[in-house]
Symmetry: C2
Amino acid sequence: MNHEEKTMKSEKIYEGKMINLRVDTVELPDKKYSKREIVEHPGSVGIIAITDDGHLVLVKQFRKPVEKTLLEIPAGKIEINEEPKETALRELYEETGYRAEKIEYLFEFYTSPGFSNEKMYLFLATELIEGNAEPEDDEYIEIEKIKLEDLIEMILKGEIVDSKTIIGIYYGERYISQK
Amino acid sequence: MNHEEKTMKSEKIYEGKMINLRVDTVELPDKKYSKREIVEHPGSVGIIAITDDGHLVLVKQFRKPVEKTLLEIPAGKIEINEEPKETALRELYEETGYRAEKIEYLFEFYTSPGFSNEKMYLFLATELIEGNAEPEDDEYIEIEKIKLEDLIEMILKGEIVDSKTIIGIYYGERYISQK
């Protein structure tokens, strides 16, 4: 069955630094019209960085939209003319100081496809070499390394509340236990 | 360390049906100012509905923001004055026709905390009773039931590309294998 929604009108509401907002008027399969509010995002990468002794590298930072400091896997927006793999290596280094000798594309997903086109490319980074982080001007980041086997419990206890990080932990925990 | 960002100004850009957009001017720890683009969302629920024979109940629907038909766990926006558990039971029934004899809150997460406050409450629904779906006027939904052990492979192959669904599959697969 094909239930695509044809765009009848598209209205730009906002063009910003990280996101744009538009409202599309669409034709539904029954020919009725409906509105779709759509947040445009350039896409991002998330990095599952695992140390040789089975720790996951995490970053702690204040997130204004939720007014909380969250523990997350390193991640960042894809810049213009950048390949996702480059973004992954760059963000890992900037946020944590780690360089990865081995970086592997895993899979990709939409963070919230009901209202946004943000796509996240997930990478596995291993054979890590420690260095000094170089965060951007408006980023204040702390680094934590936590054993993968302890992180599943932290999800269930509500101590990890970021979707990409939960995915990264589940993936990493299987990866470690199958090695 | 406390790296909270104080709101110096907050500008409403858009108030819509599902989301609002505002731009906050914040003061960083070094006293410099920066802008934060914030998509406000009322919150949502996702339902990991598992049949007695170990299948996960999924819905297939066209998602305008990504211009694709996606396979997802049942989910939906929390309505005003609704408890997340009520939303979970209502959305499961509306989208799939299933009623759950047992519904359990698992944990919650932010779908994209870099630009949105959308929080998703995840529930486990079991002891399912089949019925007829009652989708909303502008929803066109197909139901699929897939064995949990096959779904991990579908993530790795890029056939499941929705974040809440990937989390639901990893959780469900552990749940089934530990029973």
